[in-house]
Amino acid sequence: MPRVTHHPLVELTLARLREFAREPEALFWAFLFPIVMSVAMAVAFPAGRGQTVRVGVAPGEQSEALRQTLAAAKDIVVRDVPPERQLQALRNGEVHVIVEAGSPPTYRFDPVREESRLARLVLDNALKHSAGRVEPWHAHEDLIDIPGSRYVDWLIPGIISLGIMNSGLWSIGFMTVQARLRKLLKRLAASPMRRRHFLMAPVIARLALLGPEIAAPLLFGSMALGMPVRGGVASIALVAVAGALMFGSLGVLMGSRVRTFEAASGLMNLISIPMWVLSGVFFSASNYPDAVQPFIQALPLTALGDAMRGVILEGASLPSLANELAIIAVWTIVPFVIALKIFKWR
């Protein structure tokens, strides 16, 4: 007898895809968010930043001569800063160091800030040079352009991973809680539907959307921002799929017993915010003390971010990422098995 409809897993997956495609918010988070974040970052950290140093000149006699000397120096940008605003200007990075004319001049800065220490050196160099210091020798400079070493290059794979985490946890977790609240889960439990099909469907649906979701920021990053993409499409795709399955599975676990939207939000924030902070998305995780490194390395987002960076920026081979892929595999299988056991259908 010919089948009237598709296999239930296919129907469940189609239902999830349709639900997603017809929800404008979900589309934003999946596609626009990574691009918006990348653009914002690129604008805030443009290429070439860090090559000029911002120096504040305090008003006073001889400040005019000082300003002219500095204006002639390349790498230095001069700003006028009145005394009452000096601390504020230093604190919020408007200027890196403040100089007061005098013989000798006074440098004002906080040595804790790396940019300020650098600025002080550049400033000192420029002033001494114009005062007539003679260099014993000039070194040859062999400038090398290493694509992929900018902050923005390092950021984008991390942001792609963040996007995968967000859509996995929030869209799957939330849709599940919503279905429970509407008693749709109870109604489905009353039918012959297999429970594992219901839990697998959203994870598979995520995969279908993964292609455009990754491609958009990758293309944007490489074409508009010059990020190198060294890995092949197949390896990047594989890492992305692994990450999507992992966070899909975690999303299913998150949604497995929660009964209200408040509890769902709370739980998802509890899981994702520590990873936003610890997993090396916005700055390297090695900034944290050694004692917590094993814990950080074991986190799902850390593993995915590292694998993404490896495969995109370095073209790393999959075997070399075995550690990260193993961690991802564990975070995929274990949550799904647990969810199947503890899922509340009522």
């Binding site: 129907e11 239902a15 509407r182 009353a190 039918s191 012959p192």
Partner: protein
């Protein structure tokens, strides 16, 4: 007795269910014969929903015995689910799926059943097949819900308050669907707090209050049991029956 020849669609004996201190179902027993429409009539909080969810295999009872279509939930669940249709109180389907997509989803769970066209025709929703669920009226949503319950061509339908909150015309439309189902040989167990629904649709009715059956008979039989003097002024109704048994109204309006 001729009852021994009649197959039983549902048999429950001495059902018990409590939630903490609250006893929802307290020694409830009844039988539903194959091919009949059986009603559980009672006010809100009487334990009707708890009872029907136990019979639907969605809730485990604390005590008592349940047999549905000759099978037990503990051992025969997959097979039973193929033969049942269920409509819950207040199910909301996914808002942004169409009527047809929702029906396809439910139909896909069953090994056998009608086509989507036939199901749409049964509940007269052909014109709405491409509408999103969120755009349907209350009556249309209930009809979709019944169509999903009928998707697997069930032998037995469980309906929990099928017409609550519907306007009179929608109620009659739904009753017509159920009547057609009965005529094709199906069995129905429904809960309701509308006495006209119980009188119109049901072959037999059990009146339920505080988790137990306090009377069980055909609607006419129950009304006749009120006794002749009470019937002098007006035709007795099931409302009166309930009143005489408990001293309260069926529905607090």
């Amino acid at each position: 007795m001729e009852n021994q020849r009649v197959k039983l669609a549902v048999r429950c004996r001495n059902l018990q269910k409590r939630y903490g201190d609250v006893v929802a179902v307290d020694g409830l027993s009844f039988e539903v014969r194959a091919g009949e429409c059986f009603g559980l009539l009672g006010p809100n909080g009487a334990g009707k929903t708890t009872t029907i969810e136990i019979l639907e295999g969605l809730l485990a009872p604390d005590g008592g015995d349940v047999e549905v279509l000759g099978c037990r939930w503990e051992t025969d669940e997959p097979r039973l689910r193929q033969r049942l249709g269920v409509q819950l109180q207040e199910t909301q389907f996914t808002d942004k799926l169409t009527v047809e997509e929702t029906l396809r989803l439910f139909r896909s769970f069953y090994d056998r059943g009608q086509t989507i066209e036939e199901l749409l025709g049964l509940v007269e929703l052909e014109g709405k097949r491409r509408s999103w669920v969120v755009k349907l009226s209350g009556g249309q949503k209930q009809r979709l819900s019944i169509a999903c319950a009928l998707a697997g061509d069930p032998d037995l339908l469980f309906l929990d308050e099928p017409t609550t909150g519907l306007d009179p015309q929608s109620r009659r439309q739904l009753w017509a669907v159920l009547t057609r189902f009965r005529e094709a040989g199906g069995t129905v167990l429904l809960t309701t707090h509308y006495m006209d629904e119980a009188e119109t649709l049901c072959d037999r009715v059990a009146i339920v209050d505080h988790g137990r059956v306090i009377a069980e008979d055909t609607p006419k039989g129950l009304i006749a049991s009120l006794g002749a003097p009470k019937v002098v002024v007006h035709q007795g109704t099931l409302e009166d029956v309930f009143m005489s048994l408990t001293g309260r109204h069926l529905r607090e309006e």
